[in-house]
Amino acid sequence: MSKPTLAQRPTVAGSRLLSVGGVRGENLVPNDDIVGPINSSDEWIRQRTGIRSRARANGDTTVKDLAVGAAQDVLAKASLTGSDIGAVLVSTVTHFEQTPSLAAMVADAIGATPAAAYDISAACAGYCYGIAQADAMVRSGAAEHVLVIGVEKMSDFIDPTDRSISFLLGDGAGAAVVGPSDTPGIAPTVWGSDGGQAGAIYQTHSWLDYRRAELGEPVPTDTPELAEEVSQITSPTLRQQGPTVFKWVISSMPEIARRAVAAAGLELSDIDVFIPHQANMRITDQLLKLIDFREDVVVGRDIADTGNTSAASVPLATERLLREGQAHSGDIALQIGFGAGLVYAAQVVILP
């Protein structure tokens, strides 16, 4: 007797962004307020990074509050409610619980239960990773509407005395709703990783080492510096090799951007809006020099006041361009995220 045939869901023709939005930390903290402990200056930070201030949330604002705020914004903009959402994807590196996921809590808070919900760990590329997954979920019929959120409360993770990365970072949540579409609205994602460069942006030591040190257990360490760090039972924090990251981005990301445009079946001259991860204004300027966009391409430059909000930076920059009228619904945008991993993802989207 022959085996029965499985049913598979019929696929949906297209997907698109139905809305993009977000919220920023309540306070715009100027350079002068953070330069003391790192022996830096407003001038140095502006000249090297283009940052004037970074958004930082109040002490009692949680990463969940930020995520829910962004979710409510994009649901309202798409004229949907939580119950319309079939899956919630949250990208974050600042949800300090191994489990349960932030996504499940956010889904519940917005009335999306029993939507599928899980977190993504792809740092500054996390939102673009999420859009790639949401596109695949919608077109495969796995969910009709997918909520993608990139959220960070970096102020909970940074070390104010660190000169390598902390001064760049801000707090915020950006989000999008992805849903079905008669016309294509999300082109193929060009994405990847290079774990060989995991040391370029890294956590000083693991939570397990922290726990062992706290319990007085021996901590296996690779280096004297790490042993010193762990012996003081300082909680883990972020560091980066800034020049290495800068070089990686400008030497590798132009090609990824060009491939994403080619994957969309377009020419660079078709791109109306360029929305790079808001890592450093100098990186954005260099990418513009190295990629042959149209002269009048509109560029996301939210970093100047918001700082680098990691997973939230691409949707927040998009939200701002739309809100300020620099970009418009129907524009063709290239978005690209890159960061710790190292990981990256780029895709062309039609703005909602």
Partner: protein, 82 residues
């Protein structure tokens, strides 16, 4: 493909000109990138990246701080090509 030192210097001068707007003839072997040409560390990383592509060599990040003068960079690239 190996370039002569003159070719490397001329190529570097073009890259520096692209990045900073400095006239190509200001880029001489004895000039210090930081002190004479006023190139900061991020511009230096850009110049290094573009030089790697142009001359088909690898310049490790740790090496960059040893490239004080334009002549140091020319010598490093020439040796890396050899």
């Amino acid at each position: 493909m190996a370039n002569s030192n003159e070719e490397i210097l001329a190529g570097l001068a073009e890259i520096v000109n692209e990045e900073t707007g400095l006239a190509t003839d200001a880029v001489q072997a004895d000039k210090s990138f930081t002190d004479d040409l006023d190139i900061d560390s991020l511009s230096m990383m850009t110049i290094v990246t573009l030089a790697e592509e142009k001359f088909e060599v690898r310049i490790p990040d740790e090496e960059v701080k040893n490239l004080t003068t334009v002549g140091d960079a020319v010598a490093f690239i020439a040796q890396a090509q050899a």
